[in-house]
Subunit: 194 residues, 4 copies
């Protein structure tokens, strides 16, 4: 009966604990059980939240899983700037390798899989997780170039593909383990190629 031109929030505000509870539950389910365990039903039960509430936040189960995954996989530990950029890059990739090798690494693979069926998820995964890793590595590479530790490559994106490609390849195929030694070999082979 009266108008409602309020610019900012209208209605009852969302309880911030709801969102957190959902994502925490989803993350836990993802870590055990993998992607198929992340059902709306299970999340609702574990988070103590009703199913419709989850749908108020995300459109379906994989979307929740992706959100939980991205939230959890925060910013990659920033390489210490004190070290040489080449050492920093190596350290950074070691961190990625560790993450992939750890039980949580299965989640990464699961999210890659999930991103195959829905464009929205693919975009989110690419723009958040993938871009995050690439950007960090790109920064290091550019510092190396600036300090003339490596020869400027024709295409820095190709260089990033050369570095990350084999890592994900091993993660997803599982034909060989992802060790620190593997990362070292990888860098030793790629860096001179630039």
């Amino acid at each position: 009966m009266s108008q409602a031109p309020s610019p900012a929030s209208r209605g009852r505000p969302r309880d911030p604990r709801t969102r957190t509870a959902i994502l925490t539950a989803a993350r836990a389910l993802l870590d055990n059980g993998g992607l198929t365990a992340v059902t709306i039903e299970a999340i609702a039960a574990k988070a103590g939240v009703s199913r419709p509430t989850i749908y108020r936040y995300w459109p379906n189960a994989p979307a929740v899983a992706m959100a939980a995954f991205l939230e959890a996989s925060g910013a990659p530990a920033a390489g210490k700037t004190s070290r040489s950029p080449l050492a920093a890059l190596r350290a950074q990739l070691h961190a990625v390798a560790d993450a992939f090798a750890a039980p949580g690494g299965r989640s990464v693979a699961a999210m890659v899989a999930a991103a195959q069926s829905e464009t929205e998820l693919a975009k989110a995964f690419r723009n958040e997780f993938i871009a995050r890793n690439r950007d960090a590595a790109r920064l290091m590479l550019e510092r190396c170039i600036a300090e003339q530790l490596v020869f400027p490559p024709a295409d820095i994106d190709l260089a990033l593909d050369l570095i990350f490609g084999p890592l994900f390849y091993r993660l997803l195929m599982g034909h060989a383990p992802i060790t620190r030694g593997f990362v070292d070999q990888l860098l030793d082979a790629v860096v001179p190629a630039l």
Copy 2:
């Protein structure tokens, strides 16, 4: 009361058309709709076969999909031996790139995804599809080494990871297209690194 227990087949033999019909239907569903479209229900309807029959051949839907995929992705076209092994390797990878870029490439990604949740599928995919590609490439590489076209690398499997990794990386992330130019750049960077 019962006669000779014929050592081989007992009772009504399996109609070979059944198996074919199932795989054909599964393949069709995989190509449109992707992995989620490959349901036992849909296969049964499309193949004109009952659901229990499918279960008599495979344990679940992803397994049928994988079988259909592997059956369809036959042996990679053998590189002409007349050419230089390096050119043959390049030609082979061009073929892979073409396959990945084609609509069927989505199926490859789908199967990678499917292989994440079940060990059995992962093994099948690795031992058939991945190994097939790697073995073909390994053969070429070894010929190159034999003809002293490339320096013998410390680890030939690492070399294969360097080659195939970026290809799958692009396929699965979709952050950049998989062109023949990309393959050429890739080889130009990797080969001298060996």
Copy 3:
């Protein structure tokens, strides 16, 4: 600590248009779609009113429907006193028959149905709608008796049951139409029986 609970209104008075809007919307939904279409959600949307507001007026959806129905089914048109009371009674029942036969008649049936599950509604329906019709007819009957047009029946309530019973029976069972001819036959049979 708390002062006089001012007997009359405190705070902002209710906007009279709110009540009207809700009842109008409920009535419209009742007429199409029937009772199941009368949901709080739909009323709120149609009336441009928030859901809690409706609950401030009535406890649940059927109650709103009943209120809307009773409000709409105003007093039965008073029979002209100039005519003979018997003719007036007949005219009155013709009006009821017309109302039942009209599309709005479905609402009557719907409210009978609604009254089955909740005592409160049953009481309201009985005391308002049923009583209204019975009282009007009783008045006419008593006039007939006073004017010695009919023999004084033992039980006037039974007489009313004899008159209204078949009408509602046909309305609710739908095994035969409710025509004016039916009303005439009904009266012709019942009146001499008294």
Copy 4:
């Protein structure tokens, strides 16, 4: 792979206990709780049957309730033929009155209500329950006429409306109890009117 022109049943036959279990559970829920208690969920739980199974038999909850009701309200006890047909009619109506007055009478009202929203249910209720009662009464009436106990009425269906209408009217409105005395009064008024 082969055609299926088998005339009789194909596939696994329905377990007859399933149907019974569902109807029994529905009937129990209907008797306590009324129509709103008859939810597919509750039936499934009580009958130890899965929800989809129920949907394989009936399209929705009211339909199950109706089926349960009709199954339970078997044939009306046939009046002893040894008595006079008038006495038999009276006895039959006494039985109906008893049924209406008993707790199960609420179910009858509930089914009348349910029949208001769906044509299919209305038809079933009319053709089974209503017709059953009417036919039994019609038979008695016709015998009375044959034995010249009552004057042949112009319209026997109207006579049935006169008899059953008030009964249902009281059942549904609840403004007065349904006693045997009421039935007697009813007959005493209606029979001479014919």
